[in-house]
């Protein structure tokens, strides 16, 4: 047995300074327990209760049963999945093309790198207001351009039409995040081994061949990481919707996050049980989706290599 005040010996004879380890871990553990573990546990607890001020009632699975029959929730789930599926494809595809253009040192590459990256530096509030102007029916540049081209029939309130509101918002997030994806892709391109590319060039491999057979396979892990990151980001999207449409019209832009907020703070109730149920169910869905994505990519990796 180790003497008090002295590090305890392990099986291999190395003494571990448990006091110091604990001292270093304690602040981080405390913050983690207080701000992550407890809220997560509390949300799970709430999901089985009706949680009103000064009283909580256990309701078992009632909240989950109600949620299964809540068509607004399923509307929000569908919208969020559409967003999370479409955005990564759009963002990563365009970002790859732009990164390749910069990698090939097109004229004005420095300017374009800054210009394309700038949107990601803006907050969703600014971006939301900016695009509400762009989409304005009367004087927004999109409708103004359409009218100038004699295409008046195509002008519409882009954020006010249930058919166009969600695609219009997906376009906004794509515009905003393409720059971030582009910079990551550019870094990946610059870190490619020169000798492999030079060997391909010695074999008279053209740009298309290098892209398809050398570059894309080598940057594939980066691409997949960007897809997963974008997917997770869109599964949580809230700010842009809240600023622009608040889920309108006809729930066509409602996302799970906006619906949770509405149920928690805008529904005529103080109950936090039902919103917690939505949060728990959505957490599980997102977790499964991310695991499925990761697993799918890993399987393909095994097949290829």
């Amino acid at each position: 047995m180790a003497k008090a005040g002295r590090p305890a010996a392990t099986d291999d004879g190395v003494r571990r300074p448990w006091g110091a380890i604990l001292a270093f871990l304690l602040p981080a553990l405390t913050v983690y327990m207080a701000l992550t573990a407890y809220p997560a546990f509390r949300t799970l607890w709430n999901s089985f209760h009706v949680v009103l001020p000064r009283r909580e009632t256990f309701v078992g699975l009632d909240n989950f049963v109600e949620l299964a029959q809540d068509d607004i929730f399923w509307h929000a789930v569908r919208n969020t999945f559409v967003w999370a599926a479409a955005s990564p494809l759009i963002e990563v595809t365009i970002a790859t093309l732009l990164a390749l253009a910069l990698y090939a040192k097109v004229p004005g590459a420095r300017f374009f790198r800054v210009a394309w990256f700038t949107p990601v530096l803006m907050s969703y509030v600014v971006v939301g207001i900016l695009w509400m102007w762009i989409y304005n029916y009367d004087w927004g540049p999109i409708n103004a351009t359409l009218r100038a081209l004699g295409l008046d029939g195509l002008a519409r309130p882009w954020l006010g039409d249930p058919d166009t509101a969600l695609p219009a918002l997906i376009l906004v997030t794509s515009w905003m995040w393409v720059g971030f994806n582009m910079v990551v892709m550019l870094a990946a391109l610059h870190s490619l081994p020169r000798e492999v590319i030079e060997a391909a060039e010695l074999d008279n491999c053209g740009w298309g061949g290098k892209l398809v057979f050398i570059i894309l396979p080598l940057v594939r892990p980066t691409l997949l990481n960007l897809v997963v990151l974008s997917f997770i980001g869109k599964m949580k999207i809230f700010d842009l919707v809240w600023i622009t449409t608040k889920g309108n019209p006809l729930w066509s832009t409602e996302t799970v996050s906006t619906y949770v907020y509405k149920r928690a703070f805008e529904w005529s109730t103080f109950d936090l049980g039902y919103p917690s149920t939505i949060a728990i169910v959505w957490f599980v869905i997102v977790m499964i989706a991310v695991l499925a994505l990761t697993r799918a990519f890993r399987v393909r990796d095994k097949l290829e290599y």
Binding site: M132, N248, P249, F265, W267, S268, T269, F270
Partner: protein, 425 residues
């Protein structure tokens, strides 16, 4: 040496201040007060003047005021009330039944209710007890531009109410001349688009059946409801509303009506004045604007064309956990005098739940406005509250999305709207 002396004097002064501080603070009771209307200067100025007057007469009571915009206030209150950190007095509206449901509000039975309009007290009565000081009251009014009406060669009937066919003709005539018949938008509010349907349904059903409809005790599949919504949808299809209806914000709808591009009509709460009577460069109507007010048109098959909605809006309530209920009651009672009601009418130019005399108004613009309001409300039978003040939970959410937005925007059929409303209860 001089520095030491200065430090010693400072320490003595500071010590005296620290010792005197609690005694001085303890002499006055401080009431904390959170209110909406941070940017609505007429209302804010009125309340600030009332507070100053109260403090002058009650030097032992101080009101510590914090001004908010409505959404920020509501979000702050939800958290503060849960945490037991809410102010003594705060702004609320009668649709916030969750406050009463959870016992957050002080029973205000002790107020001088004789100075309050009975319908306004009723709006704040929950399970037999009154909970709010009903400062702001309003009716749903149909405003019109007299000049544009003249331009169309149409005269408003003497009873200020168009027949259904005449109103439909008016809409078509205006749309045909390139004038938007009615400025309206739901870009930032959950209720303006619903004014069309709820006023029509109220007239068609009468107050009793309309109340049952909102409470879910009369089905939305009732033929009278379906016919009325079809009539409303027909008006929308005839080009009643601007193409920007779904995204047009309330302030923009005001400007759309009276300034640019200009519309023939505008349906809104009678608090229209709180924006339109500002200076033109602050969103107010042009000084030479010819404002008219008429009744909502008669509705086909209506049983009560004189029925209309009256609502209590901005009010003040007290925290049930306040440590100063007597002071709060005294503060609220300081509002409940006819001269205060008159001051509200004169300065804010919106109706109030406090008994007041519109005849006492000296400002000619306000006097003319209230005489027009009196004309449209002559012989009216009232239903209290707009639907989102009466509904809660899912019916309220579906009503907001479907009846307020999608139906008048033409994004949904009447059958689908009825199906969704039926499923919401």
């Amino acid at each position: 040496m001089r520095h030491r002396l200065a430090r010693a004097i400072s320490a003595v002064v500071l010590g005296a201040a620290v010792l005197a501080g609690p005694g001085a603070a303890g002499a006055a009771t401080e009431l904390t007060f959170w209110s909406h209307w941070a940017a609505e200067m007429p209302k804010r100025s009125f309340v600030e003047a009332a507070i100053a007057d109260f403090e002058a007469k009650n030097p032992d009571i101080k009101i510590k005021t914090t001004w908010y915009e409505k959404n920020a206030l509501y979000a702050a209150l939800k958290t503060a009330l849960r945490a037991g950190q809410a102010p003594d007095i705060f702004y609320a509206e009668p649709d916030q039944v969750e406050y009463m449901d959870n016992g957050f509000l002080l029973d205000l039975s002790g107020l001088n209710w004789d100075s309050v309009e009975p319908w306004a007290k009723e709006a704040w009565t929950y399970q037999g007890k009154p909970y709010g000081l009903p400062l702001e009251a309003w009716t749903v009014e149909l405003y019109y531009n007299k000049a544009k009406m003249k331009e169309l060669g149409v005269e408003v009937p003497p009873n200020l109410q168009f027949a259904p066919e005449a109103f439909a003709d008016l809409v078509k005539k205006a749309a045909g001349k390139g004038i938007t018949p009615m400025a309206l938008g739901v870009g930032d509010r959950p209720f303006p688009g619903a004014h069309l349907s709820h006023e029509a349904l109220l007239k068609r059903l009468g107050t009793a059946d309309y109340g049952k409809l909102l409470a879910g005790k009369l089905p939305w599949t009732d033929p009278r409801v379906v016919e009325t919504l079809t009539w409303v949808r027909g008006l929308a299809d005839a080009g009643l509303l601007p193409p920007t209806f779904s995204t047009l914000k309330l302030a923009e709808a005001h400007v759309y009506f009276h300034t640019k591009p200009g519309a023939l009509m505008f349906i809104n709460g009678s608090w229209y004045t709180s924006r339109a009577f500002n200076e033109p460069d602050k969103g107010g109507q042009p000084l030479d604007f010819q404002l008219g007010i008429m009744n909502f048109p008669a509705v086909p098959g209506a049983v009560c064309n004189e029925c209309r909605t009256i609502a209590v809006g901005g009010s003040y309530v007290a925290n049930a956990e306040t440590k100063h209920p007597k002071e709060v009651t005294a503060f609220f009672n300081s509002f409940l005098r006819p001269e205060v009601g008159n001051l509200w009418l004169e300065n804010v130019k919106v109706q109030t739940g406090i008994k007041a005399d519109p005849g006492s108004i000296k400002d000619p613009r306000a006097a003319e406005y209230f005489s027009m309001i009196a004309a449209t409300n002559k012989g009216a039978k009232y239903f209290f509250g707009i639907p989102i003040q009466v509904m809660t939970g899912k019916p309220k959410e579906v009503f907001t999305q479907v009846i307020n937005n999608a139906l008048p925007a033409g994004n949904i059929t009447v059958d689908d709207a009825v199906r969704q409303m039926s499923a919401a209860y």
